[in-house]
Amino acid sequence: MVLVAATILGGPVGSHAHEFWLDASEYRPDTAAEITIYLRGGHYFPASALAPADRVIHRLTATSSAGTRDLSSTTEKRERRASLVISDPGLHRIDLVLQRPQLEKPDAWARLLLVPSGSTSDPAQYASGKGLEILPLMPIETARVGHSLLINVIRDGIAVKARIQIVAAGGGVAWVDSMPEQPAAFTPRKPGRHLATVTDGGQTATLMFDVQP
């Protein structure tokens, strides 16, 4: 009983500092559709309890085959919102960099991968090569319940050892380990949104992705 209690308490205390993540009104939008990107944060994913302040938003960008463009966001209660038009049928990678003013290194990164409906994505396009990144090694739109998804953690483009926490919006937490020579294997048990989080050297990176039934 005590062991169970200690395990229950010890795990979350060590790993549940609040995180920031990106979310979207649609994960498989139609091309030319306008969707909403949410900047959210808190302890209890998927509920957002806080929005990052203006001064710590270093960059919010959308990258697709058309290039990279800056997105502007506004605070709405306990989250921030940005509008995004799906300009082309390929992958849209949304990146948020949080960094205190005058600090040389970011505090956190958050990423969201959107693949328009009817399209496929190439995992080679997922990485930026900068900072701490959670990198699926398979097309993210193929993530399905019961099917293993391989994930790497890279820092400045190089695979590193890391423990990834993955929380399903429908409930449930998993931890998987990624090694430089062996990516982590995560098998979703529920459909819907999933938040992957990794912390390294005082910095945090998150990745939001959707799992199909």
Binding site: M1, V4, A5, A6, I8, L9, P12, V13, G14, S15, H16, A17, H18, F20, G41, G42, H43, Y44, A49, L50, P52, A53, D54, R55, V56, L98, R100, P101, Q102, L103, D107, A108, G202
Partner: protein
Amino acid sequence: MSGIIFFLFFFSTGVAFAHSIEVQPIEGDPGIVARYADGAPAAFVGVNIIAPDSDRVFQEGLTDREGRFVFLPSTHGIWRIHVDDGMGHTAHTEVPVGTISSPSTQPVTHLPRGWALVTGISVIWALFSTCGWWRARRK
């Protein structure tokens, strides 16, 4: 029992203070030093200074690289200092300036991680005890 454990797991996440900010007054100077719970300086985080007997912001700025902020007070009294890193970590404290009879020099911050752990264990222990008592009572 699994239901209880499931409940406790999510309940226990509420005692997460792994990266809160702790603020201490600087001895001998009107100012503060802010640190994250892991000991790292809360560098370049926002600071608001509220003068005694006022609700208006007297001064605002950022801590330095070491998490320090010193200001030049215009009057004696208890100055309130609020720290916010813009990413959900906040703390506040009071700094006495001048001849205050019994100033509160204790910083008002988030619960330290160790105390959060003890509190969490105590709560879980109480819940299990209550559950056991309730079951025994039914028998």
